[in-house]
């Protein structure tokens, strides 16, 4: 009977879809659409001095003030960017170059092992092209940063450390970082700290001043704004060298004509996401807890990744691995049944790779291939969870059969929470 149901779902291609991938991007909020449409009807370069330019500039600056107020920053600390990736690049490269200009000995870049590629790749690029030394900070089996490793690293090498970058909340497993401790440790040694808060805004309280961070990455499309716009919130004394050079916009740190419609819509979305945060976080956490409990009941050998304590992870995030399955197979089977999720990990040249995040948590490669991330958002309802549970058990059965094709039986597996992985073993594994 299960087969028949799956078949029906397959054929019913255009049926209503359950969208469980809000961490990839979330539907644009009506208020953001409205602001965007309004602003697109106007003209004017914010850098122009005539009336149209002044009107555009006013929109940009009001949006800047609005975003700053929402995130505990001063307006002058908001640097508009094209999105999270650019903001991360600006933070990592800009702080590295700025700090090294002050003292050429500062070459070390300390980043969490589970950082997004938008932080990891600039760091490794600096290692290849600018003499940086990248230090991957290990995490525990829940994905929580190892503070002792950070402490040892700073105590031994503070004078040669350029910056620390640790994400506020992990995009795959949702783990919240012990940022207050990270900032306290780093600042004790005079080292600036950047955090990628792309996934955190709208789900947990994000406040630049209260966090003590030197720089903070946010983006619009994860909180109901349009794509193509984000910001780096950077303290004015953060030594940022620009990545993009040109017209000198954004206090010379980020050149390029500002897009008034995009920043206005971003600010409008942020207003709604941050204002509604407490209520929506509670609602989504309850929905998430229900999803996790029902998935674990339906597929008993599935393993929840990231902290089991829901308060230590993003409220809208659930991440599970399904032994014996390829995440890709699950994705296809769910998609064909109208349920949209993610494997959570990047693909390399189109080929799904075991997630570096899961490997850093100590998950073995085979289990890491069977990962699915379910992420909720402002449009999520209990019906979405129901739709998932209607098809997931059948999909897991099929994916498991497909996963067994052409593979030898599993050898002795490591336990799901097998401790610190060899890949990032000792504190400060160097690359």
């Amino acid at each position: 009977m299960r087969g028949r149901r799956t078949h029906a779902a397959f054929v019913d291609w255009a049926a209503m879809r359950a969208y469980l991938d809000h961490a990839a991007t979330t539907p644009v909020l009506p208020v953001a659409r409205q602001v965007l449409a309004e602003q697109l009807g106007r003209t004017g370069n914010p850098s122009s001095l005539h009336a149209s330019g002044r009107a555009a500039r006013r929109v940009v600056e009001e949006s800047r003030e609005r975003l700053a107020a929402l995130l505990g920053a001063r307006p002058s600390e908001v640097v508009w960017t094209s999105g999270g990736t650019e903001a991360d690049n600006l933070a990592v490269k800009g702080l590295f170059w700025g700090r090294r200009t002050q003292d050429p000995a500062r070459r070390r870049v300390l980043v969490g092992a589970t950082e997004h590629h938008a932080v990891l790749d600039p760091a490794f690029w600096l290692a290849e092209h600018a003499g940086a030394e990248v230090v991957l900070l290990p995490v525990d089996a829940d994905g929580v940063l190892d503070l002792d490793a950070l402490r040892r690293e700073l105590e031994a090498h503070a004078a040669t450390t350029a910056l620390v970058s640790v994400m506020w909340a992990n995009n795959e497993v949702g783990t919240l970082a012990p940022l207050a401790e990270v900032v306290a440790l780093a600042h004790r040694h005079g080292v600036p700290v950047h955090s990628d808060a792309v996934q955190a805004v709208g789900q947990v309280a994000v406040d630049l001043a209260a966090s003590g961070l030197d720089a903070l990455t946010v983006t619009s499309h994860k909180i109901g704004g349009p794509g193509g716009v984000g910001a780096l919130l950077a303290r004015r004394d953060a030594p940022l060298v620009p990545v993009l050079h040109g017209g000198g916009q954004e206090r010379g740190v980020r050149s390029g004509t500002l897009d008034a419609p995009l920043v206005a819509a971003f600010a409008a979305a942020a207003q709604e996401a941050v204002t509604a945060r407490e209520a929506s976080a509670g609602r989504l956490a309850a929905l998430r807890d229900d999803l996790v409990a029902r998935v674990l009941a339906a597929v008993p050998d599935a393993v929840l990744r990231g902290p089991a304590d829901g308060t230590r992870r993003l409220p809208a995030n659930a991440h599970l691995t399904f032994p014996g399955c390829e995440g890709d197979s699950l994705l296809y089977l769910l998609d064909s049944a109208g349920v949209e999720a993610s494997t959570g990990s990047a693909c390399q040249a189109g080929v799904a790779q075991p997630s570096h995040v899961l490997l850093a948590l100590g998950v073995d490669e085979r289990d890491a291939r069977g990962a699915l991330r379910f992420s909720l958002g402002h449009t999520s309802t209990a019906a979405d969870v129901d739709a998932l549970l209607a098809v997931l058990p059948g999909a897991v059965g099929r994916a498991r059969a497909a996963g067994a094709v052409g593979r030898p039986p599993a050898a002795a597996r490591t336990t799901p929470h097998g401790g610190v992985p060899a890949a990032v073993g000792a504190a400060g594994a160097r690359v």
Binding site: G3, T6, H7, F10, V11, W13, D328, S329, L331, Y332, L333, D335, S336, C347, A349, G350, V351, A352, R398, A399, A401, A402, A404, V405, G406
Partner: protein
Amino acid sequence: MRVLAALSGGVDSAVAAARALDAGHEVVGVHMALSRSRDRFRTGSRGCCSIEDAGDARRAADVLGIPFYVWDLSERFEETVVADFLDEYAAGRTPNPCVRCNEHVKFSTLLDRALALGFDAVCTGHYARVAAEDDGGRSLHRARDAAKDQSYVLAVMGPDRLAHALFPLGDVASKAVVRQEAAARGLAVSEKPDSYDICFVADGDTSGFLRARLGERPGDVVDASGAVLGRHDGAYAFTVGQRKGLQLGRPAPDGRPRYVLSVEPVRNRVVVGPVEELAVGEVVADRAVWFDAPPPGAWTDALVQVRAHGTPVPARVLVPDEARPAAEGPAVPSPGGVVEVVVDEAAGLRGVAPGQSLVVYEGTRVRGQATVLRATRAGALAGGLPSTVGGGRR
């Protein structure tokens, strides 16, 4: 049916998927990533292994409006196709990696995974036809366009796999028609050049690839009498029938060109000689896969083909039975069994190397396939043949 369309990024597989869609099937596109270290862009006439090819496949799926996935089958490909390629050359044989890919990857792992996921068939852009038989089974036939026919490399899949294979291009008149159809459908790959070379050998330099993977193993180039004529860097880089690249300092006494007659991996020798020594009158092949096996113990008229796009030649084939065991079968029983083949030397079958695939046809229909164990001039088998073997000459 639910159909998984293998999309290489080329024009054939894209049009095949489009035709499957037109036929009313539910189609999902899958690109097989077969190489771990892939080039960013397609170079020359290599197959489907670059990132650009994967992108072309994805774009074709977009145009067709079908879901698209990339499946990483590189491990399986390396363990079977590439490993077999190296082993075979190291053993002095001449493998056909496309045949092994169809045997171990496309119509094995890919198909099995597709069936497990609930698909009914795998669709590819191969040029071959499938016909329904009276008994409910299916038979594999040459494509309508003989120049593009690929039944030779598909025969290895056997009847069980054929039941789940879809070749929508088997009936097209020519490749030009496929290109026109691609253009008409808005598929950007319509002008993409054909691929010929071995997909996993970068820059098409097979002997360089073999040298890199197998290491240099210098040895002698000798004539049939054993006289040393020159040196080589590795016998594996030579294949029976090869003329170029022998690098023999002095010409043959009679001034005629010399060809590789055999490769002897144990003695690390390459034996060369005149063209007439390449003539083949008898072939023994093993690892037979039959769609329609000839009755055991009886010589049967057929056509045999020993290389892709080679000319089929009339032959008599024999599947030995217990009463009449193989004349010179392998020491170890062969999975799938042995087939013996006799052809008229005048038919022009030359330079058949161990390891090549031998496909047995009746007209356009594939009867079976086996892997060449040994090819010789007329002699050994003929002695055991019924006198009617001459009837095989036409």
